[in-house]
């Protein structure tokens, strides 16, 4: 039986009527057309679907829609506008996005939104993480292009920039 769920996505109040067990990932992608959050495994083991719920990172592919009722969800689309506001392209990016762009920390880029959201969550909790804290935070995210060295550089860069 469908249920009506109210929650906030990227600062905007949203109401969806969906099966309460439907994954948050599908609701974001299919009901709200927020396709920046990716499906990678469906079991919470690759991190491509990472979003923030009330500031904490969650795997949206294994998060039932009902569990985010009344909560605030932040996706990659909510970090910064996808179109720059002016000719100074790049100025509008979130510091973590800017760090990933500056380090070119992606090859195919499919894991990138999840990597960025994971990093945002890490730096909110731990603004100056140690190498070990970074590894602990990101090790659940897979990059099949294995661009890990550049991603780690981007995380460090973001941390130094106060991401």
């Amino acid at each position: 039986m469908d249920a009506t769920i109210n929650f906030t996505v990227n600062g905007r109040q949203r109401t969806v009527t969906v099966d309460p067990q439907r994954p948050l990932l599908d609701v974001l992608r299919e009901e709200l057309q927020l396709t920046g959050t990716k499906y990678g495994c469906g079991e919470g083991r690759c991190g491509a679907c990472t979003v923030l719920v009330d500031g904490k990172r969650v795997r949206s592919c294994i998060t039932p829609a009902a569990s985010v009722a009344g909560k605030e969800v932040l996706t990659i689309e909510g970090l910064a506008p996808s179109k720059p506001p002016s000719a100074t392209e790049g100025a509008a990016l979130h510091p973590v996005q800017a760090a990933f762009l500056a380090e070119r920390a992606f090859q195919c880029g499919y894991c990138t939104p999840g990597m960025i959201m994971t990093t945002v969550a890490l730096l909110q909790e731990t603004p100056h993480p140690t190498d070990e804290q970074i590894l602990t935070a990101v090790n659940g995210n897979l990059c099949r292009c294995c661009d890990y060295p550049r991603i780690l550089k981007a995380v460090h860069r973001a941390a130094e920039a106060g991401g």
């Binding site: 969906v18 990716k38 495994c41 079991e43 996808s82 090859q107 195919c108 294995c146 890990y148």
Partner: protein, 737 residues
């Protein structure tokens, strides 16, 4: 391959004359005979202007691969370059971007020769209505074939601009320079742009004039766009999440499709209760013979519908071999006889001889974006967006499956989430198109990870036998190498690069219970693993250092490139120093190899800790001719190295009775951040050599370097991938010399 080959330009000119015709209404130049391009679509997209059709550079002695299933002559057009009347430059190529960097380097190639900054060049990739069929994106072919073709086409455009300007100004062409996209006559400070060229009605005629001089490509030392770490053109859309991957595509009224899969390979559906689907609101069963799927308003509903349907299905299963007995199975199911070692007598007479068998398990590419396709019908034609390296082959595959003409299928490949050689077919596109046709609405199909791990393709398992003899001085006198592989991919790098006296190698195909495909470097990984591990066993038998032993067998002038990467890696790694250390449980190994026109060497340090192999440090040196984009190239090398650690240490498809047992990322363990060793990646730039592709070869040496390091650490050679330590393994007390 570059400067001023008159042959190349003559062919280009002839092609321009033959293939192009003027459209008097639009003043566009187009090539009506080409398949896959409709003039209307094309003009709608790029508008009027000049179109240069770039021919494949047969002078390079390369052969193109046609899209799968396509008959007829080879590739006739390598790319198109359109110059709009507003000066917009659009390059159209059938190549795809799956993260390897083709979009960037082809943009750089055009920009370089046009004399423009890269951001002035638009690149249209893999839209079968717009781009020429220049074959599949595979085999490291974009760099050695498409880049030079685009460069020649762009250089021809630059030559046209110069000739046009010289004529307009009645000056010598030698006095005209192209700077920042403009023809400049310095003495009189006059300028003309590509827009002026495109707007000139006489250019159609100019195209048919014989060229006064050859197309001259920009020499490496003058490169401004090439040779630079230019960023991926759509990089910003990647970090904002705005880029639409195939699985992100949408269409009005779209439904979500999901297939009913067999429980095991070879199983046939014998019964099904269609009513089961009715329990799920909005779900509709689509059944066409053995093709059974559902469409529904959401992915969740489609999944639930298939979950409701599956228990009602009855299947007739077939016997299937399992992974535990796969190597015996391969030996017993070869398609041709394995030839015995013709040098058996030499081996028998040698001072020392060795014979060894190596095994390599099935592994999967497991790109992070699973196979995905959106199909949308418009009358009798269908447009399919999908995840493939083979747009025209998939167009043909989809048209055959649906009984359509190829021209009624348009395949578009948005930049997708990783390929690695495993996306040559278009089953997800066929599924989406069939479901959409039955549903009467656009349908998106996105495979689950379990489907991908079960029904996509695999790198073949293989069994490799090697035998060699050594003379009293420790020199290899004969070499025998046979790779029995579950797929027709065993031949890559099956021959040894070493000077070994007499050599015999054979790649033998065997039946495969799993569906196989190419995978980064194909069997070059398996063959190099076996050969390089065996080289260390031979070196040990000869009482020689592995580096010195290799160099002694690379003693001819032609070996200079391979020697260079090996010696550079050894030096950077401090091979002699590290090899001489005797730390318990720690070892170092090295390996080298050559494939697809490039050379690579790696050194690795491992620690064997509580039965686990930990790669602590790795140095890899790669040389692929002139470096086109150092940043992207470095990323390809570290990506290959790290990806290669997975199958070396852990990755292995486990299956029995036709079912995959580890079809998830929790059971099939690919490399993660914590697997990254201390890395030293080094590129040897050779501006004097043609650029070779680089997305594959850097993967072939890390596994044997690790294996040899484990041999060094434990005194026991490694004979299988993924590597296994014997249960009673003791770490070496003093290392193996």
């Amino acid at each position: 391959m570059t400067n001023g080959k008159p042959g190349a330009f003559d062919k280009l000119q002839a092609a321009l004359s033959d293939a192009e015709q003027r459209d008097p209404e639009s003043e566009a130049i187009y090539a009506p005979a080409e398949q896959g391009m409709t003039r209307r679509t094309f003009l709608k997209y790029v508008g009027a202007g000049l179109l240069i059709t770039v021919m494949p550079l047969e002078v390079l002695g390369q052969t193109f691969r046609r899209g799968r299933g396509e008959k007829g002559p080879g590739v006739s057009v390598a790319a198109r370059i359109h110059i709009g009347k507003d000066g917009t430059i659009t390059v159209m190529t059938g190549k795809v971007e799956g993260g390897q960097g083709a979009r960037t380097e082809l943009t750089q190639a055009a920009a370089e020769e046009l004399g423009l900054p890269p951001d002035r060049v638009q690149l249209v990739m893999a839209d079968t209505d717009l781009v020429p069929d220049d074959g599949i994106t595979a085999g490291s072919g974009s760099t050695p074939r498409t880049v030079p073709a685009v460069r020649h086409g762009a250089a021809a455009a630059r030559a046209l601009l110069i000739a046009f300007a010289a004529k307009q100004w009645a000056v010598d062409a030698g006095a005209v320079e192209v700077r920042d996209g403009k023809a400049v006559h310095a003495a009189t400070r006059r300028e003309l742009t590509y827009a002026d060229l495109a707007a000139d009605a006489d250019q159609a005629k100019a195209l048919q004039q014989p060229a006064p001089e050859g197309v001259v490509l920009t020499p490496v030392k003058e490169w401004k766009a090439l040779g630079q770490s230019v960023a991926r053109p759509n990089a910003r859309d990647i970090v904002t999440g705005a880029h639409r991957y195939p699985s992100d595509m949408t269409a009005p009224g779209m439904l979500y499709g999901r297939m009913l899969r067999a429980p095991s390979y070879g199983a046939k559906l014998t019964n099904l209760d269609p009513a089961a689907v009715q329990a799920i609101p909005g779900a509709v069963l689509v059944r066409e013979d053995s093709f059974v799927g559902v469409v529904a308003p959401t992915t969740f509903a489609a999944e639930r519908a298939v979950a409701a349907l599956a228990p009602t299905a009855a299947w007739e299963t077939a016997d299937q071999p399992g992974s535990k007995t796969i190597f015996d199975y391969l030996r017993q199911h070869t398609h041709e006889a394995v030839q015995p070692n013709p040098y058996a007598a030499d081996v028998g007479a040698a001072a020392k001889s060795l014979k060894q068998t190596y095994t390599v398990a099935y592994v999967q590419h497991a790109p992070l974006e699973p196979r995905s396709a959106l199909a949308a019908w418009d009358g009798g034609k269908v447009t399919v967006w999908l995840t493939t390296q083979n747009p025209f082959g998939c167009r043909n595959e989809i048209s055959r499956a649906l009984g359509l003409n190829a021209t009624d299928v348009r395949v578009i490949v948005p930049d997708f989430g990783g390929g690695f050689g495993g996306r040559h077919t278009g089953e997800e596109g066929v599924e989406a198109a069939r479901l959409a046709r039955a549903a009467g609405k656009p349908v998106l199909v996105r495979w689950t990870r379990r489907e991908e791990f079960t029904w996509a393709c695999f790198r073949p398992a293989g069994v490799i036998d090697i035998e060699a003899g050594l003379d009293a001085a420790g020199t290899i006198t004969s070499w025998y190498h046979v790779n029995i592989s579950g797929g027709n991919f065993g031949g890559s790098a099956v021959g040894t690069p070493y000077r070994v006296g007499k050599a015999k190698s054979q790649a033998v195909q065997a039946d495969s219970p799993l569906r196989t495909s190419s995978y980064r470097a194909l069997a070059a990984t398996a063959n190099n693993f076996a050969r390089e591990a065996f080289m260390d066993e031979l070196a040990a038998a000869a009482g020689r250092d592995p580096l010195e032993f290799r160099l002694a067998h690379l003693d001819k002038a032609d070996d200079a490139r391979l020697r260079a990467v090996l010696e550079t890696a050894a030096k950077r790694f401090d091979w002699a120093g590290r090899r001489g250390k005797r730390e318990p449980g720690v070892g170092v190994g090295l390996a080298c190899g050559t494939e697809k026109g490039s050379c690579v060497a790696a050194c690795a340090e491992v620690a064997v800790e509580q039965g686990e192999i930990v790669v602590r440090r790795a140095c890899e040196v790669f040389e692929c001719g002139a470096v086109l984009n150092p940043g992207n190239l470095t990323a390809q090398v570290h990506g290959c190295l790290l990806m290669g650690i997975g199958p070396a240490l852990r990755e292995e498809m486990q299956f029995e009775k036709g079912a995959v047992l580890n079809a998830s990322f929790s059971k099939y363990l690919v490399p993660r951040f914590r697997d990254v060793p201390e890395l030293d990646i080094h590129l040897l730039d050779r501006p004097d050599l043609p650029s070779a592709g680089a997305g594959e070869t850097p993967i072939i040496v890390i596994a044997p370097a690790i294996a040899n390091a484990v041999f060094h650490a434990t005194g026991r050679p490694i004979h299988q991938m993924p590597m296994r330590l014997a249960k009673d393994e003791k770490t070496a007390e003093a290392g193996h010399s």
